[in-house]
């Protein structure tokens, strides 16, 4: 990998950090100066921005300032846990009625002796 490539990858990391609001003013100024001279990095920044706009739209908030992070609400989590437990219990009960316990298989009457006259 050449030194120019390494430098370019570093600028791409800086672009990501800038869009996340994680750069200092000095770093932002340096990046702005580089973008003026590097069309490739400017294009990459535009591309990153478009991706973020798409993510914001899919989250239902196209005018957001940053990409909204997915949030798991406590109520929703509790509902799903309860639903999974109920399903498991129901399946276990059905399986126990059908196959469970010792002595399963044939019915009691089928397992009993019989006398047939010929």
């Amino acid at each position: 990998m050449t030194g120019a490539d390494t430098s370019h990858e570093q600028w791409l990391v800086q672009i990501d950090a800038e869009l996340d609001g994680e750069l200092s003013l000095v770093e932002r100024a340096a990046l702005a100066k580089h973008l003026v001279t590097c069309a490739h990095c400017a294009g990459a920044r535009a591309s990153h921005l478009e991706v973020r706009v798409a993510l914001a739209r899919s989250a239902g908030n196209p005018h957001a300032f940053v990409v909204p992070r997915p949030a798991i609400r406590a109520g929703t989590l509790a509902l799903w846990v309860a639903l999974a437990l109920a399903t498991g219990l129901l399946a276990g009960w059905v399986a126990d009625r059908r196959w469970g316990g010792p002595g399963g298989g044939a019915t009691l009457e089928e397992s009993r002796g019989a006398i047939v006259v010929h």
């Binding site: 298989g105 044939a106 089928e110 397992s111 009993r112 002796g113 006398i115 047939v116």
Partner: protein, 292 residues
Amino acid sequence: MELSSFTSVILALSALQGPGTRLTYRVRVIEPASVAPRVLASGAVSGPLDSDMRLTLRTDTAEVEAFFQVAPTVGDTVSLTGEFYMRRLVGRSRRGLPLWEEDSYRRLVRLAWSDTARIYPFGTGKRGGGGGGGGGARRALWVELILEREFAGGEARAEEAFDLVDSTRDFRLEAVVRPRRARVILNLVRGDTVSAPRPIDLIPEEPPRVVRLVLKARATTLVVSLTRPDPARSARDRALALDADIICLRVARPDAPQPLGTICGRLNNVARQLPLPTGDTLAATFAWPGWR
């Protein structure tokens, strides 16, 4: 001339319950095989008309004990009752111990004399072996039973004959006869002195009899009577009539209505003892009565 139904019943019962009638249970234990069914055991139980039969079949995963009784009915038919007591291995506990399932039930069929009844002790096995516990092929075995009657010169004892072809199997056949009479041999014992044996034939529930025993020139008079034991406590013992040959000897003094005690035992020639207030011990040995 046509007989009334009541007369027919009376004639049938009198013919069947005559003192000279002998009943035979002819049995074959058969296992199905790919080519032809295989006879695992065969035998017969015969005796007076009130003789019953106890059949025991054991495998690794199941035990069947069945008690068969015959009751003559109108015409040329007979009612066969089977009391079944079954134990099946249904699995193992979490600690690795075997878990057994117990079941008891009754089957009743009517058949003609010399008809063949097929008994499926482990079920007919129509659905993969008839019951849990595995051993499907072994479960499908059956017992062929033929009931025969014949007229004998007198009342004889019960007899059993059983031929086990496959010795790896655990089958048993027993005649069960409730004694109508019993031979009781009485002795008085004190220390190392024993009185002369006093044999008497007793009939259960008949009026008490007075017996006089002499030990060291001293006579002891006792009133003895034979009774049937109380019904067995366990359902299995009752169903299989395991106490059929147990009788009880009630011993009392002639001048006191309260008994001195009761000795119960099987008719197996084993002496049983009852301490008396006089310091002597009464030894009673129960046995089947002699041939008549």
